[in-house]
């Protein structure tokens, strides 16, 4: 059915910000800490702690020690709530004001939306062990998983009326959520969006990154020649992004602005960034085009800067060629790598730095699966531009199971293989000659790849002293499927994975139409994907197998 998008604004005011991280438990505390920046260098970084998960885990983590764990089964929400409240207070959004506006919720996460009984700090493990031994047992702890989608949790808590989805794009989730919020606002879906990300420290990614050999035994050293890996952190970053029209109508002040964003897929490898940096470069250039500013105007860069050898090497090469001489302000030595929250916490830092430098700040995020996101944050001087509406149509594609699996997908689990099948079917229906960089890809899922997640947790539980399979870990992230789909079809446009228990496929179509209206893509492949696996089916019995493939095009 054709859908028209009314004209909307380009530069979006940020009317509220909140954050919780090892750098501080609110924005002001983090700002004071980050004031220790010197140009291009760092001093007085946060000291990470060791032994967070007990005796077997000795590498440093950046915990938010000031926030005590009152409810270990709800750590995610202990981190999210103060950041959310701070951002709403900052924006002047009371419950009664929220009720008058069309408010969306878009949050990035990796440890939310995951049926991972290690999340509730081992309390559920005995029940899960009993299920594995006897095929029966107490299913009540499944409720924890069914409440673990942070975006739906916020919608329920605040009774917001707009869309609410999580972005499960691994380490770029928090930045991607802000980009999706921008699409909703510019395409008149919402007046304001509560966007950002949240993640808690958890033994699953700790073991996974350790097994991958990228977890440092020492405090991480982003961009240092002798860097040897990342440390995990935890936290939440929340921004209230709003239309200028809504901001003026409310008389709200703005803290800064989202000038533009860009997203791209490497279509290269499941875990490693494309060493050529071509995908990151495209995302940065797309952000500059979106913001209608030259890259030479960028005052400072908050890089992804995880302190792994590969990540920092790719970023250094791309910045040297695209933004020579622009100072770097990596912040993971203050916060650790907060995974799905990182892009959002760093967007908050980016706004602080934009105000300090009086110039645009580039914030980059690189994720598993070769996803790249660039945000351009600035002060609110820019004038809104206007976009033209477009009409779209959706083509439902029949999935054929005759495609050879393809060399790059040899390691893919069943969830990802199904995504590849669906993507190839839709790809075959594209208008001939469509450039790979102009094709977007969205995976919509209720549950994500749980067969691999349960197997990975089994390895951790069965042999606590031994490293688990890094290959399995790579398949526990929800966006592995999108990564394989991109690699096997070669599509390199914007890509993301949306997770929600309610209405996630509809949200994927809505985002696809937004991307077309914003001219980020000429076609978007939408895949709806869920699979049954025995443990999940036992604990959440109303599971369905879903595999659908669609192509959203301009009509």
């Amino acid at each position: 059915m054709p859908q028209a998008n009314p004209a909307a604004e380009s530069v979006l005011p940020i009317t509220g910000m909140g954050q919780v991280s090892a750098a501080g438990t609110d924005v002001a505390a983090a700002d004071a800490r980050l004031a220790t920046f010197t140009r291009g260098g760092l001093r007085d970084v946060t000291q990470p702690v060791r032994g967070f998960f007990g005796e077997t885990a000795t590498k440093p983590v950046f915990s938010v020690a000031a926030l005590r764990e009152e409810r270990p089964d709800a750590r995610l929400f202990e981190l999210l709530l103060p950041a959310l409240e701070e951002a709403l207070r900052d924006a002047g959004l009371s419950i009664s004001v929220l009720a008058r506006l069309r408010v969306g919720v878009c949050l990035g996460t990796t440890t939310g939306c995951q049926f991972n009984m290690l999340t509730n700090r081992f309390e559920a493990v005995p029940a899960y062990r009993r299920y594995r031994e006897t095929g029966a047992g107490d299913t009540s702890f499944a409720q924890h998983y069914l409440n673990s989608n942070p975006a739906e949790w916020v919608r329920t808590r605040l009774q917001t009326s707009g869309p609410a989805v999580c972005v499960t794009d691994a380490c770029s989730s928090g930045a991607d959520a802000i980009g999706i919020a921008a699409e909703w606002l510019r395409n008149d879906v919402c007046d304001a969006v509560i966007c950002g990300g949240v993640d808690a420290l958890n033994p699953l990614p700790y073991a996974g990154f350790s097994a991958l050999g990228v977890y440092s035994e020492n405090p991480c050293k982003p961009f240092a020649p002798d860097r040897d890996g990342l440390n995990l952190g935890e936290g939440a970053g929340i921004l209230v992004l709003e239309t200028e029209r809504s901001r003026r109508a409310r008389g709200a002040t703005s803290r800064g602005a989202l000038l533009g964003y860009g997203m791209s897929a490497d279509a290269h490898h499941l875990t490693a960034p494309d060493p050529s940096g071509a995908g990151l470069r495209r995302a940065i250039e797309a952000a500059a085009k979106d913001a209608a500013i030259p890259l030479s105007a960028v005052a400072e860069i908050n890089p992804h800067g995880t302190a792994t050898l590969d990540n920092d090497a790719v970023e250094t090469a791309v910045f040297d060629s695209l933004l020579p001489g622009v100072p770097l302000c990596p912040t993971k030595a203050f916060t650790g790598h907060t995974l799905g929250a990182a892009g959002a916490i760093e967007a908050v830092f980016g706004v602080l730095r934009a105000n300090a430098t009086k110039g645009p700040v580039l914030s980059t995020s690189l994720a598993f699966g070769g996803q790249n996101t660039a945000l351009l944050l600035g002060t609110t001087d820019a004038l809104p531009a206007v976009r033209s509406p477009v009409e779209t149509h959706t083509l439902r594609v029949a999935i054929q199971d005759t495609f050879p699996p393809g060399r790059k997908a040899r390691r893919a689990d069943r969830f990802s293989r199904n995504a590849v099948l669906a993507a190839k079917s839709a790809f075959g229906a594209l208008p001939p000659g469509t450039l790979p960089e102009r094709i977007g890809l969205i995976v919509a899922t209720k549950h994500g790849p749980h067969a691999s997640t349960f197997t990975f947790v089994d390895e951790l539980l069965d042999a606590p002293g031994l490293p688990p399979s890094p290959l399995l870990f790579s398949h526990t992230v929800h966006n592995a499927a999108a990564a394989y789909a991109a690699m096997e079809t070669g599509v390199k446009g914007p890509s993301c994975t949306l997770t929600a228990f309610h209405g996630v496929t509809e949200e994927a179509f809505r985002l696809a139409r937004c991307w077309l209206a914003s001219d980020r893509a000429e076609a978007v492949i939408v895949i709806s994907l869920d699979e049954q696996c025995a443990p999940l089916f036992f604990f959440v019995p109303d599971l369905e197998n879903v595999l659908e493939s669609s192509l959203v095009l301009r009509s």
Binding site: H269, R410, R411, L466, S469, P470
Partner: protein, 92 residues
């Protein structure tokens, strides 16, 4: 475990855990390179998986493995490493 049994065990584990489609232990040359062209064409993610296989299946101490140490050169090189650690009989 004899050296031939160890090599067959290593090949079977690699085929299974790295999902090397269409391969059989007999078809993998003991001296063919595991990485790069002309052999199994494995990559860095396979390499970290092999390190975990050595720990989980053979109880090897992998702390000493550094880049360019040559243990990933071939099936023979992997077997040398397991034997040098006295773990050839430890395969679980």
């Amino acid at each position: 475990m004899t050296r031939d049994e160890l090599k067959t065990k290593l090949k079977t584990l690699l085929i299974e855990r790295l999902s090397i489609e269409g391969a059989t232990p007999e078809a993998i040359d003991d001296d063919a390179p595991l990485f790069g062209d002309g052999g199994l064409e494995l990559d860095s993610l396979d390499a970290v998986e092999i390190i975990v296989i050595l720990q989980r299946q053979f109880g090897c101490d992998v702390k000493q493995i550094k880049k360019g140490s040559g243990i990933f050169a071939s099936i023979n090189a992997l077997a040398d490493f397991v034997e040098a650690q006295g773990k050839a009989d430890a395969a679980g």
